[in-house]
Amino acid sequence: MKTLTIIVCLKTVSDPEGPISAFEVQPEEKRVLAKGIPPVINPYDENALELALRLKDRWRSRIVAINVSAKAVAAVLKKALAVGVDDLILVENPAFDDLTSEAAARVLSAAVEKVGEYDLILTGRQSADWDSAQTGLLLAEMLAIPAINLVKGAEILEGRVEAEKLRRIGFETVRASLPALLTVSSEAGELRMPSIKAVLEARKKPLTKWTVQDLVLDVTALRTRNIVSLSAPPSTARQCVFIEGGSAEEKGEDLALRLRQDGLI
């Protein structure tokens, strides 16, 4: 079998596991500012990357990662090189700030065309900031290739991909011819840890940078998000009554009594 070319689309986001207090909603600027927490690769994109690596474990593959951003967070993205990505391509331009999913897919599509031949494109099912859940699907539409949404696992068989796609209840096995795009869900598994040696080596690996001129892209035609307003959600804080004292078992008993007193049970 020939070497597979797998493209993985990676975005960086403020760490969604960060505490609520680290996210400051700025209504005037219509943005959310993350303070004191580092950016990370979007967790679902990490799942996509892990799936790409699993395919590479089984079939001879070259993995190309593409990041589209206003300003790339190269130090974070180099993690991809440390776990086994062969080529990391950064497409940076200030005009890429706050693109709609459609515009982001348009830039990615131009980048994919420049990569040339490929067999599979993997993206996360959604990003942890705007949760728009469609960049991958739109990219597939633009490239006119099959897309399988919400994938938890995949295999390559004779020029085709067979993927397990989530349903709300259960899952289905879906087949598509290559090239195809898969949007990957967390069920695909967490990204493997790179070795310290690999992290150190990745720091020295070269990055590929493409400009909009390289992509023959008209940035003025790209739509940005039309945010009418952005606000903090209503407070969800409640006054928690802690069941104190005694052993854990006694606390359990006390909890039942409290719920009974409140007429809940």
Binding site: P16, P19, F23, V32, T100, E102, A128, D129, W130, D131, S132, Q134, L137, L138, E141, I145, P146, A147, N149, E162, L166, R168, I169, G170, E172, T173, V174, R175, A176, A180, S185, E187, G189, E190, N226, I227, L230, A232, P233, T236, A237, R238, Q239, C240, V241, F242, I243, S247, A248, E249, E250, K251, G252, E253, L255, A256, L259, D262, L264, I265
Partner: protein, 329 residues
């Protein structure tokens, strides 16, 4: 056609109209009234006559798309059919229930009209110059954004669990059979097999007992099931829920996941056991009437949104709780 049209994608359930579709029609109706427009339902399926007739009792027009290819869901075919319908009917808005199928369908349809798809909306309304405004949680529920949708039709999926179903108001909508002349070769993928999961109804549960990373084993889940069994003596609908880690490691199916990428729930009582309280999870369960958390760490964010908290190992807390419960129920 002249008038604005609001097109609502109707869903089937057990051969009839899905109750969630009536809630979605309430949202569609408000939009239609806001523009003195026409409320339309779209029914797609294999011989969906009954669903069309039921829909006609609530809307002005029903577009029935009956095609042999609709016997199972295939996103490309559904998108092509909707594309044909949208070209003919020219709705201002296409509304859909927030489901796995529709978050795949939405962007495909919007793309063909150079318009925009907004998933997971809590509200939709009209803005200035007739622009559709979609309100949705972003950053895992840490902020609420109102997005002015580019293009027409604006396509949105909504979670409308808390909406009232549209009441019948003596409507007698026109049923229009719409032939989309679907070409099955448009499908870019094919389903080889389907593995059905167990039936789960988190949305309809009175009580949910959810486990998280702290549960972490089959034995832990068995403990939760014992508690559920006990609660069944007192409540009709009790369901087992999960936060994402339990689903990611395969201990429970995705249908049981509560959170941003799972279900949003609002039971009478929500038990969060071994759940630290990531925003992903909190955004799904915050609407619960009473929240009870059991967690080893007194610093777990879950306590910040709970009514009752027990700091301790669930393996030790639950036996006492269940013993007392048994005496009561």
């Amino acid at each position: 056609m002249g008038q604005d049209r609001i097109l609502v994608l109707m869903e089937h359930e057990n051969g009839g109209l899905a109750p969630i579709s009536l809630k979605l029609l309430t949202v569609g109706k408000a939009l239609a009234e806001g523009c003195s427009g026409v409320l339309c339902g779209c029914v797609m399926g294999r011989a969906p006559g009954d669903v069309s007739e039921e829909t006609a009792l609530y809307v002005d027009e029903v577009y029935t798309l009956d095609d042999a290819n609709f016997s199972s869901y295939q996103a490309d075919l559904y998108a092509s059919a909707l594309e044909t319908l949208v070209k003919a009917v020219k709705p201002s808005v296409l509304l859909m229930n927030h489901s796995y199928e529709n978050v795949e369908l939405g962007p495909k349809v919007a793309h063909r009209f150079n318009s925009e798809f907004v998933p997971d909306c809590a509200e939709v309304e009209w803005g200035e110059e007739g622009r559709l405004l979609c309100t949705k949680p972003v950053y895992g529920g840490r902020a609420i954004a109102v997005i002015g949708v580019h293009g027409v039709p604006g396509v949105a999926t909504m979670r409308c669990m808390t909406q009232e179903p549209l009441p019948r108001q003596g409507a007698e909508g026109r049923i229009i059979l719409f032939d989309v002349a679907l070409d099955s070769s448009l499908a870019r993928s094919e389903t080889l097999s389907v593995v059905e999961g167990e039936s789960v109804n988190l949305g309809g549960a009175e009580v949910i007992v959810s486990g998280g990373r702290g549960i972490g084993s089959v034995e832990g889940i068995e403990q939760l099931q014992k508690l559920i069994h006990l609660l069944h003596k007192r409540f009709g609908a009790v369901e087992l829920g999960a936060s994402r880690p339990l689903v990611d490691n395969g201990l429970l199916p995705h249908a049981r996941q509560v959170g941003q990428t799972g279900e949003r729930v609002s039971p009478q009582i929500y038990f969060a056991i071994g759940i630290s309280g990531s925003t992903q999870h909190l955004s799904g369960m915050i609407g619960s009437r009473k929240i009870v958390a059991i967690n080893q760490s007194d610093e777990a964010p879950i306590f910040g949104v709970s009514d009752y908290g027990v700091v301790g190992r669930y393996e030790e807390v639950l036996p006492g709780f269940m013993r007392k419960l048994e005496e009561m129920v």
